[in-house]
């Protein structure tokens, strides 16, 4: 066994997997990764099951150190600068940390969450079939709470396999698609206002829900309905008219009218939207939403087909592009002069 020590970590970082299912009837929410595609991509790079437990890393900087042996990991999700002992590494690739080496991650750039999958998975005690952290319910393993510096994750020793990269289809930057309902008839003209307006995600959002800032969405008959069930992506509108999109740690039931629901195929992309960035919703029909959901699950199922060995050429180009995106001047000719942009990239977390 090796272990991965959390040397530094910010808030909103925790062990997550595909979540725990089957106990919503007892009030237990599924939890699980906010961006399931990114979780599955990271896992597929190190040969894990798509929804094996990995580290969900919030927008802030983080560092991970291998101890008692080498650890092989893979990074996917929001773009961010990454290096191992000063050597730039790219997102959407696997990498091996020799015993004592540290992987350092910068701030998320243009997204919110990254996923660090560990070859062989994370050792823990599953509850309801999941290691996912749900701090309110005291669930999660090895720690039933968000990660803190000093935490240690037990894992398998690195296999020494060739490092790999994954080619993911480009993410849409179009509107977030929703299916209207289940209580859209509680809203009149406000439905058009909801669909025609630009929204921003409030900084007070968390894994339970993303609060939206925009025009006031008025109810026709008041904001109390008799409580009923919620799903990931339910958009409820409380009394102040500012919608809340319920996310993976949502309450399983709620008493505010729900105007619409984010479709499965767009939920991870929505989860990645940084606080403060403007976006819009677009209503689609059930047929389209379900066709998109089927495409999404099919893509997720076939992610291993998109994984291939890294050649040195790939690695350099990736790292170069990442560095350039961050606005640092680098020489494409002399890779030896590349520098990891310093943590001033905090400003890039828009």
């Amino acid at each position: 066994m090796s272990k991965l020590v959390i040397s530094a970590i910010g808030p909103a970082s925790s062990v997550q997997d595909g979540g725990r299912h089957g106990a919503q009837r007892y009030g237990l929410t599924p939890s699980g990764a906010m961006d399931r595609l990114a979780l599955a991509a990271a896992n597929s790079l190190v040969g894990n099951a798509a929804f094996a437990a990995a580290i969900e890393i919030g927008p802030f900087r983080a560092a991970f150190t291998a101890r008692e042996g080498a650890v092989r990991v893979a990074l996917a999700g929001s773009p961010r600068n990454a290096d191992i002992s000063g050597r730039a590494v790219a997102s959407d690739t696997s990498m091996t940390l020799a015993d004592g080496e540290t992987l350092t991650l910068g701030f998320a750039r243009g997204g919110s969450f990254s996923y660090l999958a560990i070859e062989g998975g994370i050792a823990g005690e599953p509850m309801f079939g999941s290691l996912a952290v749900n701090a309110r319910a005291g669930l999660g393993s090895p720690y039933p709470r968000p990660l803190q510096a000093g935490d240690e994750l037990q894992t398998a020793a690195a296999s020494g396999a060739t490092e790999r990269r994954i080619d993911l289809p480009p993410l849409s930057d179009g509107p977030i698609r929703v299916v209207m309902g289940p209580q859209d008839n509680e809203f009149g003209d406000a439905k058009e206002l909801f669909l025609d307006s630009e929204w921003k995600i409030s900084a007070t959002s968390d894994r339970m829900g993303y609060r939206l800032e925009g025009p006031v969405i008025k109810h026709l008959h008041g904001h109390n309905i008799v409580t009923d069930g919620t799903v990931n992506g339910s958009i409820q509108v409380p009394g102040n008219g500012q919608p809340i999109v319920l996310m993976l740690d949502r309450g399983t039931s709620g008493g505010y009218p729900k105007i619409a629901t984010v479709i499965t195929a767009d939920l991870g992309r929505f989860a990645q939207l940084p606080a403060g960035r403007g976006f819009r919703f677009k209503a689609v029909g059930m047929t389209e939403a379900q066709a998109e959901a089927r495409k999404f699950w099919e893509m997720l199922r076939t992610l291993p087909d998109r994984v291939r060995p890294i050649e040195n050429f790939d690695l350099n180009i990736e790292a170069l592009q990442d560095a350039n995106v961050a606005g640092a001047a680098v020489s494409a000719v002399d890779a030896g002069t590349w520098q990891i942009p310093s943590p001033a990239d905090a400003q890039a977390h828009d």
Partner: protein, 243 residues
Amino acid sequence: MAATLSPPRLLPSGDSAITVEFSRNIDDVANQRVLALDRTLARETIAGVTEAVPTYRSLLVHYDPVQIDFGTLGEKLLTLAQMPAPPAATTRRWRIPVVYGGEHGIDLEDVAKALNMTPDDIVARHVAGDYRVAMIGFTPGWSYLSGLPDSLRMPRRLNPRLLTPAGTISIGGVQAGVQCLAAPSGWHLLGRTAVRTYQLRRDPTFLLEPGDAVTFTAVDAKTFAEQDQAAERGEIVAELIAS
């Protein structure tokens, strides 16, 4: 009681869940039909259905759109809703000990004043109630009960509390509740129970099921403290008085 029974409405909850709505209000007939459809669905397995969540007035059915689409599942659910439901296997009846008032139920005095009764009257009426678990939701083990005596109905607090203690026994509107974990709440806090409706590493993890009958019994603070220690060790503390 609803005057008429209409077929349920099918409401889309995104691309992977359907809300089967029997009523827009809290009503016992609707809740019985929700629980009946829940039992039917447990027996007549539909490929692609992953989870069903009963609430007061609707059954939320989670499903996998790769295996079944909205239209096909909706038709099947409407058919099942018309079938005679299998009777509930047994009605379990629990007696739940509560320490009322004081630091354990900080709203008891105010509720008594608002309803022109003494705190003892409130406790007597709350204990006399014959309740049923209509749904469990919001946070693990939070059990929403139907059957609150009419004389104890009062509007929820204008300012919900951001945190109320684990084990809180409360009332709000026509509803009564047994709360397991500390959570925000806009209901009136009458007392606390040592009973954990949700406890990890205990068998069963979840004590109550939708449809279970519940009554309350008053205990003193010392008994509560003893029961709380026993519950912490994994004892159930609630009494199963019929099943």
